[in-house]
């Protein structure tokens, strides 16, 4: 592949879930604008973190990329090939290269299949015959993800959450993918186990050169994992940048708010002066009827008339390094630590997050 073609190229990706209603004749009465015009690229071997509050459309994005959902609009290209509306048969050659790790380790493994069957299933479906046989390959994969290869014949219910997630990783690796979409792979796990699984994924990414779209709901998890980070809010990307740019120079108010929720210790060593805690007030607006203009304006402390009428484009605003894009009319600056009027923002008295 030419180096100019990114592994994954997403442009204008949109997913609206129709809302059916009405009596006696059911018809579409509205739409959940779960994902509304995403643009991003993932280079080969790169890890992109996708961060945002619950309900902002991260999982939908992941399912669109893996083609579990049919996009309403936009374009998804894999190695330059348009797969936006590819059917199952058409997708077959690419299928094995894009895999997914799921959020819920209890729901993502079939309770009636042994670990061996779960991991060898993908090879069976794609008619792959590894040298030495499938069973040997499964044992090898179990070894890679840090499980005992002798557990080949065990059933999922015999494993803990962390171990199950490792099985999920092994299944994703079975097809030797080039891209893995990991949808909050650790958020259902105990905090003590999260780090282990993240380390495993990191090892996998480095050793096998697999590109990741790593979905998380806070910036802390993604921080050590992703070279690039995209912050989502209500179905749109509000800021996307290389990791250090994003953590060191957050320009979007929402990114700032998210960063301030990350525990101090991990933020300060990045050279950013101890920033004050920003607590977002109010709820995330409904994606059925999102705010006009900038979608963050109902919770933004800097919102003006312009924010309500004009949607800010995702561009490289002044003071950003190349590749650092922000969608805000009044981007934040590092040297002015939050010019904050009281009603929209409260200072959090407790420093511990």
């Amino acid at each position: 592949m030419s180096s100019t073609t990114p592994l994954l190229d997403v442009s204008g990706l949109t997913k609206h879930f129709p809302i059916k209603g009405g009596f006696p004749i059911r018809r579409t009465v509205g739409a959940v604008q779960a994902v509304d015009g995403l643009d991003f690229q993932v280079a080969e071997g790169e890890s992109l973190g996708l961060v945002g509050e619950s309900g902002c459309g991260k999982s939908t994005t992941g399912r669109l990329i893996t083609r579990l959902l049919e996009p309403t609009g936009g374009r998804i290209a894999y190695r330059g090939e348009d797969i936006t509306h590819a059917g199952r048969k058409q997708l077959a050659p690419i299928r094995s290269e894009i895999q997914m790790i799921f959020q819920d380790p209890y729901a993502s493994l079939n309770p009636r299949q042994t670990v061996g069957k779960i991991i060898s299933g993908p090879m069976e479906i794609n008619d792959i015959h590894p040298a030495g046989g499938r069973e040997a390959r499964v044992r090898e994969l179990l070894e890679i993800v840090g499980l005992n290869p002798e557990h080949y014949n065990r059933f999922p219910h015999e494993f803990s959450g962390g171990q199950r997630q490792r099985i999920g990783v092994a299944r994703a690796l079975a097809l030797e993918p080039k891209l893995i979409v990991a949808d909050e792979p650790v958020s259902a796990l105990d905090v003590s186990i999260q780090a282990q699984v993240v380390n495993l994924l990191q090892k996998v990414q480095r050793d096998l050169g697999i590109a990741f779209v790593f979905i998380a709901h806070d910036l802390a998890v993604v921080r050590h994992f992703s070279q690039r980070v995209a912050v989502m809010y209500l179905g749109r990307i509000v800021e996307i940048a290389d990791r250090d740019d994003l953590y060191g120079n957050p320009r979007h108010p929402y990114t700032r708010a998210l960063l301030s929720a990350v525990p101090e210790a991990t933020v300060q060593d990045e050279g950013v002066q101890g920033r004050e805690r920003i607590r977002l007030v109010g709820d995330v607006p409904s994606p059925i009827n999102p705010p006009s203009g900038c979608r963050f304006r109902t919770r933004c402390w800097k919102a003006t008339e312009k924010c309500a009428t004009e949607a800010p484009p995702l561009v490289q605003v002044e003071g950003n390094k190349p590749g650092h894009l922000t969608a805000c009319h009044y981007p934040e600056t590092t040297d002015v630590p939050a010019t904050v009027p009281a009603p929209r923002l409260a200072k959090d008295p407790e420093a511990a997050a």
Partner: protein, 342 residues
Amino acid sequence: MTPPTPSAAAPLEVTDESVAKSPTPSTHKGSEGRSPGRLAWNRFKRDRTGVMSACIVGFFFVIAVAAPLIAKLYGKDPYTTYASQRPELLNPFAYPSGPNGGMSSEFWFGIEPQLGRDVFTFLLYAIRNSLGIALAATVLTVVVGVVIGTTAGYLGGKTDYLVGRVIDILLSFPSTLFFIAFMPVVFGLFVAPDEEIPTWLRATALIIVLSAFGWASIARLLRGQVLGLREREFVEAAKVTGASPGRIVFKELLPNLWTPIIIQTTLMLPAYVTAEAGLAFLGVGMIDPTPDWGVMIARGASFYTEDLTFMLFPGLSMVIFVLAFNLLGDSVRDALDPKSKR
């Protein structure tokens, strides 16, 4: 998306107490996994009522299968009217001359009043025929119900809507009434009114009519289960790896549906046994001289005031069988789905 709690759709997950407490596989030796089915089997083995009922039910099935062999060893058949050659077997009122319905070392269960057939072989074949019909109807019902239910649930949309309405109609139908009124009509479709209806046709028609009304309940149950299951992430995981819809239904979903299927089957079979007997009793099912539980009970009912013994054998055996099978069904359900236990 969802908290990691096992949903009701797959009630067979972490249910072994020892495993639930220490989910680390290192807690037991060996590499062989304990499958959900194995755990259920272990639970079942501990249930005494269940094991006993299973033995009784098994005994009935063995009898049914071995009926010709037993009859041969015993040296009689259910059709011969023994009293016509040996009139001394029946008294002048055509009731068995011996005590207890004519029970003797020669006629173990006695002699049938009026015609003088052998009760023992007649009952053997009655059990064989009745169980055969009920089993065939159950199998057909379950197959049709599973195929329609899972397909509708997995496809969803218009198919699901249509199937759902058909199920609603079938379930709201007074099926017993329908059987009585329409069985003759069904026979009439195949045979001219003055012709004799062949036995195989009666049996086949019964099986088909019973199944035609029976599949709806199991289909509805499975449809609901599939609706829950298909949203689960392991189905998505299979799709991501490129699994075909057929593979998803049969390899991913069906193994998770064995619990409700087995439970439904164990409930359905005794229900069909009684239904089949009921129809025969009412004269719209199997008829004399075909040996059949219902036929026997119907005949017994016509002279139970004079000869209770003849009524007793089919009646008791049927009560024992249905009771044992229902208890077995309960035990199977408890073993497969321990959460349903009160």
